[in-house]
Symmetry: C2
Subunit: 184 residues, 2 copies
């Protein structure tokens, strides 16, 4: 096993209301030194929900994504707010974005975005036994809810508006768990 590098120093390189960049000076076990940059977390992390309307139907949302300047179809998600547990954040986002609550929530995974330069972690929750329950969200326009059969996951992957790695990973993992092939 490799000996991890030592962090010699960290300092804030830039900061905006949502995105903060930190510089990290590192010394690797072979004596090599590097300064890397990383994005700091903006709160307790994020939650992504795989809401199952029935044993095979997942509820996706279609939302405008300014990073890629188009609508993206994927799983509902959002930031966990201060003081919330992962489960509370998942339940709130599910009500705000999809209009459902869940009687059963299970942790599927904790996914990183780009561990080399992001501290960001997304907790993926499998939501089952849904019931209608709506909370007002802060979205600028209502999200379109799109039911999709997990049996048709391959068709979904061929769509140009389905591109988010963690959303695709979460759908595959949910399919494996629901089929009894993977234990979360």
């Amino acid at each position: 096993m490799s000996v991890p590098p030592r962090i010699l120093a960290t300092r804030l390189a830039s900061s905006t209301p949502f995105l903060r960049v930190e510089k990290v000076d590192l010394e690797f076990s072979n004596g090599e030194r590097r300064t890397f940059e990383r994005l700091l977390p903006s709160g307790p992390g994020a939650v992504m929900i795989v809401p199952m309307l029935d044993a095979d139907t997942v509820l996706l949302v279609r939302e405008y994504a300014v990073g890629v300047e188009r609508y993206e179809l994927g799983l509902p998600k959002g930031r966990i707010e201060a003081g919330e547990s992962v489960e509370q954040g998942a339940e709130r986002e599910l009500r705000e974005e999809v209009g459902y609550g869940a009687h059963r929530l299970r942790r599927l995974a904790a996914l990183t975005l780009s561990p080399a330069y992001m501290t960001h972690c997304t907790h993926v929750m499998l939501a089952e036994d849904l019931y209608p329950a709506r909370l007002p969200g802060d979205e600028p326009e209502p999200l379109q809810v799109v039911p999709w059969r997990l049996a048709d996951l391959h068709t979904l992957l061929g769509r140009e508006d389905v591109s988010e790695g963690r959303s695709i990973a979460a759908l595959f993992m949910a399919r494996e768990v629901l089929a009894g092939r993977l234990t979360p």
Copy 2:
């Protein structure tokens, strides 16, 4: 289908050598206005490689990730350099990080990290018919190459050092393509 919002203005909010943040003023079709932040790309994008040593064995790499302050096990990847095609970038990263070249490269997917606030796109390439070929990389320490059977993907997902969403998505997609269940 929803009418996409209009971008009213964009301006640089902060900038470091690797990470640039832009503010975007948007007007949605219902008249709602928002200012969002997004990370700008630092080049022509990134490439991630699924290198198959044989029909079932993928070559993973174990690399220190300062975002999460531990070693992460995942697929080899890196930035595409100016003037490189996706294929050229994949071939170079494969030689630098894994010590192999590939006689056959196929595009599997183009994955985004977080389309809501990142422009970042990772081109995922399936690499087959490998042969030993080494290029010196700029890594501070040599990466550990870890062969893994795709038939044991479920065991991999249980490891604490396997967390990257796009890496997990790419492994599932490669498994489906290699089994003839998905056309890239």
